[in-house]
Symmetry: C2
Subunit: 448 residues, 2 copies
Amino acid sequence: MEENELAQKIREIISSKNKTELDEFLDHSEPIDFAQQVAELEDDEIMDLLALLDENQLASLMEESEDKERIRIAHMLDNKRLLVAFGYMQKDDIVDMLGDFPIGRRKEIVNLMKSDDRRIITTLLNYPEDSAAGIMTTQYIALNENLSVHDGLDKIRDIGPRTEVIETIYVINDKRELTGVCDLRDLLNASRDNRIKDIMDDHVISVLPETDQEVVARLVSRYDLESIPVVTKNNQIFGIITVDDVIDVIVEEYDEDMLQMAGVSKEESIDSSLKDSVRMRLPWLFINLATAFLASFTVKIFEGTISKVVALSAVMTIVSGMGGNAGTQTMSILVRELAQNKVDLKESIRAFFKEIGLGVVDGAATGLLTGVIVAMVYGNPFLGVIVFLAMIGNLVVAGVFGFLVPVILDKLHADPAVSSSIFVTTATDVLGFFIFLGLASIFIKYLI
Amino acid sequence: MEENELAQKIREIISSKNKTELDEFLDHSEPIDFAQQVAELEDDEIMDLLALLDENQLASLMEESEDKERIRIAHMLDNKRLLVAFGYMQKDDIVDMLGDFPIGRRKEIVNLMKSDDRRIITTLLNYPEDSAAGIMTTQYIALNENLSVHDGLDKIRDIGPRTEVIETIYVINDKRELTGVCDLRDLLNASRDNRIKDIMDDHVISVLPETDQEVVARLVSRYDLESIPVVTKNNQIFGIITVDDVIDVIVEEYDEDMLQMAGVSKEESIDSSLKDSVRMRLPWLFINLATAFLASFTVKIFEGTISKVVALSAVMTIVSGMGGNAGTQTMSILVRELAQNKVDLKESIRAFFKEIGLGVVDGAATGLLTGVIVAMVYGNPFLGVIVFLAMIGNLVVAGVFGFLVPVILDKLHADPAVSSSIFVTTATDVLGFFIFLGLASIFIKYLI
C-alpha cells in the first residue's frame, strides 16, 4: 500500500470507529509503518484512535513511535491505561518514555507500579539514555549452568515467547554470575542429559551498565554478535542488548556526527520552530564568526600591499579556499581511521610525511593551472608564480593541520569527527592568506 | 590480552612452529582479533603461519580479514588448499575474494570447483558486490509449508548447525516460492502435528537480488529484522541477508558518505601510497578549483571598488565564510531528512520559508556584531551597515541554497549527502561576494 493510501485508510477507520476493521488492518501492516502514519494525525483523530486500540496495540504503537510522538500519545492517556499498556512494553522503552515525562507524572506512574517493576524501572532511570543500561532489555534467557540440556530446552520453550532473543542463551551459576554462553543450535544438537555447563562457551564478551552505547555498538558490530549481555561489576547479569537496538545506535550516532560536524544539534529537525532553530544554530555561527575575524585580520595586515596590487584580493580567495578543501580531505581520512582505531605510531609518522608530500604534489598541480590562468588574466607572470608557490605552501598547511588536528583532538578525548573541521579551516584560511599576501609583499616590486 | 601481547604471542607461536599452542591460542581468541594481528605480520611470517593452520582455521582467518589481506593470503596458497578452505567459508565471502582475484586465477579456481558450487559461485559473480545478491548467504533454512511442526523441528536440528540464522525460518511451497516466515519460538510452542502452513506469517518483507545494499539495510533496520530473504522475480528464495552483514553495510555506507562528502575515495586509507592518494584526491581539487575561480572572478568584477576602499577585501571574506557555514547547517538537516524519507511537500514549503526567516534572524544577529566591530576597527559606520545588510542577504542565500540543492539533487536521483556541499558553498561564496561588494559599489560615496 502506498503511504497516501495508508493514511487515507487509517483516517477512514478512525472516523467510522470500526474496531474490527482496525484489527484487520493492524494484523496486515507493520507496526512502524502504522506508527509513522499516526504521527501525521491531528490530536483529535489520535484521541479517537486511542479509544479503539487494545492495550497491546497501544503498547506496540508507543514502542514504534518517536520520542516526541510517544509523549503526545501519553498526554492523552490516563495513568491507569498507560500502566496496562506498559505491561506489554519492553522495560527500556518504558524508561525512555518516563525519562521524557514531567517529573511529577513520572513519580505518580512509578508509584502505581507493582513493586518488582518499580524496582527495575527506578534502577534503570538512574542510567543515562545512551548507556548500556539505557538501551538494554531485561527480557532475556539465562539458564543455570547445572541444568540438563533437556530441562534447559523445556525452559526455553517456556520463556522463549517473552524474550527478545532465543538464539543466544546466557548461562549463569547459582549466584546469578554470568559464566558462559551457548547457541540454541548447540543445545538442540547436544545429548539431552548433558549439563549446560558441559556444552557452553565460557568466553563471553560483556559490557557494564554504564558503558557508552557507542562502545556497545562497536563490540556487537566487530564480533558479529546477536546480543551482548550487560553485567554488574560483580559479574551478575543485568540485561541484554539486542542487535536491532545496536543498529538504531549506529544510525543515531551517524546522524549525530554528520550534524554536529556542520554545527547542528541532533535535536533539530525540519519541523523545528524558527525560535528553536535560531537557539540551536546561532551559537555555532558565532564561534565561526570568531575564526572568520581571525582570517579577516590577517588580510587587514596586508591592506597596504593590496592597495598597490588590487588583483591580490580576488586571487587570495582561491588560495585559501583550495587549502580548506585539501585540509578537509586529509582530515576525513584521519577521522575515519581514528574511529576504527587503526592508527599506529610507526605507520602514522610515515603517513604524516606522505600528507606533506601530497600537499606539495597537489599544490603544484592545482597551483600551476591557477598560476597560468592568473598570469594570463592579469597579464602578470610574477603574480602567477606567487600563486603557484602560495598554493603549494597552503596545501602543505592543509596536510599538516588536516593530519594533526584530528590526532590531537583524539588524544585529548574530544570527538575528532565533530570539532576538527573548524580548526583545520581556520588554519588554511589564516595561513593561506598569510602565505599568499606575505609572498606578494616581499616581491611587491615585481607585481606593480 | 593487550594488542601488543597478542602480537608478541602470535610471533612466538610462529617462530616455535608449535601447532598445539596455536590451536590452544585460537580456541581462546576471537577470529577478528586474530585476523587483525595477522594483517600486521610480514609475508614470511604469514607463510610460516599458514603452514600451521588447519583448513577451517584458514577459512576463518580469510573470512575475518580485510579484502587486501585476503588477497595477500590467497597469493601464498596453491589452488588446491584454497579450494579446501573455501569449503568452510560462506559463499558471499568466496565470491568477494574471487572478485578481487586476477581473472586468470579466478577462472582456474572456479573450474576446479564441484559443479554445484561452481553454478552458485558463477551466478553470484554476476551481481555487483553492493547488491543484495552480493552480500547474501546461501546457507539458510527454508521449510516446505506442508511439513508438520514435528518434522520441521527435526530438520532444523539437522540443518541448523550449517546455517547462519535459526531464529527466523522461511517457508516455501513445492515450487520453492517463498510463501511465509515463522519464528522458531512459534514452532517450539506449536502443537507437533500442526502443519507449518498453519502457524506461519504469510506477510514477508523480501528484496530482489539486484536491490542496492543500502535499501536492504534500511528495510532490516526499519523493521528490526534478524534476516531478510532475497527472492528471484518469480518469488523463489535465492538466499538470505543476515543482520550482522547489514551492520557492516551501514558502517560502510556511513564511511563512504563521510569521505565522499569531503572529496575522498572510500578506497583510500592512511597507508595508501602517495601516487594513489594523488590520483584519488586531485580530481576533486580541480573541480573545487573551478568553483574557486567563479568566486574569484566575482571579486575581480569589483576591483575598481576595492581599489577605492581596500578594507573591503578583508571584510568580504567574513561575509562569504559565514554564508558557507550557515548553508552547511541547513544542508545537513535536509540531507538527513531526505535520507529518512521524511520530507513531505506541505511540511517542506513551511520549512523552506522558515529557513529564509532563519537567514534573516541569524544574519541580523551575526551581522550586527560584525557590523559594530567593523565600524569601530575601520572608523566607518557605513561600512558596518553594509556588512550588516550583506550578512543578512548571504545567510538568506545560504538558507535558500542549503534547502533547495539537496532537494533538487534528490529529485535527480543523485546522492545529496555527497554532492550538495560544493553547490551550496559555491552559491554562498559567489553571491556572498556579489552582495557585499555590490552594496559597497552602490554606496561607494559613503565609504570613501
